[in-house]
Symmetry: C2
Subunit: 240 residues, 2 copies
DNA sequence: CGGACGTTTCGGTGAGCGCCGAAGTGTGCG
DNA sequence: CGCACACTTCGGCGCTCACCGAAACGTCCG
């Protein structure tokens, strides 16, 4: 239906082509996996999706051609990651809109175990999500560093807090400093954008939290509990 | 590929099913048309998309079942509209991400004429877009009523300005007061959310602008030019 | 009541596409 | 140099789905 001569609206054709990239279950699984913000090899994704390497290779070709993924070749490996923040935002939007259905069924024990780890804390592209992400966002709001009542933006106090906490904010580029990202386990917005990414990077770098397994789930360390308590008054109990 | 037993990730299956709704050119054209925020009949959409009524009926069935559209039956008519603000946001996101390609080609004279009217001013779901939307957003920002440098939110002054200008803001519900929506002609964010919708509703109600034809395009009236100039210091020249 | 009209259902058709395995290409390592 | 490994290309299979026209169903109106 896309191959016919475009006697139709070119904008509709473009939108359909873009959406069709995510309209396949295997490609959707790739996009969700890549929401951890890291680069995966083609082989890793093929095993993750349980399809032949040849099949996945074709999928990656389409996703890259469509602009959703960026690729980097290293030797005999092909690394892919989400192309940019806009591509990530699209996947986040789609995932958030799907959640109502998917939230209704924690499958096997193993999956529900992994699910609850994901619900406690995870990364979402390049920022924190899950109860951890919500706790941080709420703490920032309660301390007057982030405003949610009139939109979603840092306050002047918040603008000073980040550098003071040793977290640099890169104000170059068009990416917004703060952006709301709808959390698909908590069903409430958490902090994304430049500030969210900087905070997540710092949290992983300073050992506040560590990744669990190869998934997106993260676990708050004791160091992290102390730091979050001191800096933002987050009680460890809120993270469990 | 979707009909097989779901031995795969259920979240990926849900995302793929959602995306597949927009992955068809005809359905995409419907979603874009419905971005005007109004309800269309099945027949109107069929003519707009240039397909048989029977074909379009099937498309509407899928879009409604998928939760993107809401329908209302009136006599022998079937009215459909975008289901809610989240569905509209998804379509807006997709459209914005597509723009880079589509912006490159204003087709025939007639289309480019309609295109420039759309570029001057239009509605985007339920708020203002195009040069008009950008002008309003910029004016609000310049007057300290809206903050974009730290995210996207009304200021306290902005919170007072709306009621003072006779525009009520409904603060019930989960919809954010202010939200950035990427404009696909201007490539910059304009005001969406509760405040954007209220402003647009007021602008149409008070005769600041009127719709042109059956499309989304709107035209600023002389009354509107005066009001925008007095209230926000927007010069008429900026709207042409 | 009967015709006009908007919408829906149904059968049939053709095109697109996801999947695989086998064979081919290129890289790295012993 | 040659094997192992990661990835890609290709041919073929089977399923899905958008499309149409014809016919059925409702509603409105004269």
């Amino acid at each position: 239906m896309l191959g016919r001569m475009s006697t139709k609206d070119p904008r509709a054709a473009g939108l359909a082509r873009l959406a069709s990239l995510a309209a396949d279950e295997t490609r959707a699984a790739c996009l969700l996996a890549l929401l951890d913000g890291r680069a995966w090899t083609a082989g890793e994704l093929a095993r993750h999706c349980r399809v032949a390497a040849s099949t996945l290779s074709e999928h990656l070709g389409k996703l890259v051609a469509g602009g959703l993924l960026a690729e980097e070749r290293q030797g005999r490996h092909r690394y892919v990651r989400l192309a940019d923040a806009r591509a990530a935002q699209l996947v986040e939007d789609l995932a958030a809109l799907v959640a109502p259905d998917a939230a209704a069924r924690p499958r096997t024990l193993r999956q529900s175990g992994a699910g609850s780890a994901m619900a406690r804390g995870r990364t979402c592209y390049d920022h924190l999500a899950g109860r951890l992400g919500i706790a941080v966002t709420d703490a920032l709001t309660a301390r007057g560093l982030l405003r949610q009542d009139t939109g979603f933006a840092l306050t002047d106090a918040g603008l000073r807090w980040f550098p003071a906490a040793g977290i640099a904010l890169d104000r170059q580029g068009r990416r917004p400093l703060a952006r709301a990202c709808l959390d698909w386990t908590e069903r409430r917005p958490h902090l994304a954008g430049v500030a969210g990414a900087a905070l997540c990077r710092h949290a992983l770098g300073a050992g506040w939290c560590v990744r669990i397994g190869s998934e997106r789930a993260v676990k708050v360390t004791e160091t992290g509990e102390r730091a979050l308590s001191e800096l933002l008054g987050i009680e460890a109990a809120a993270l469990r």
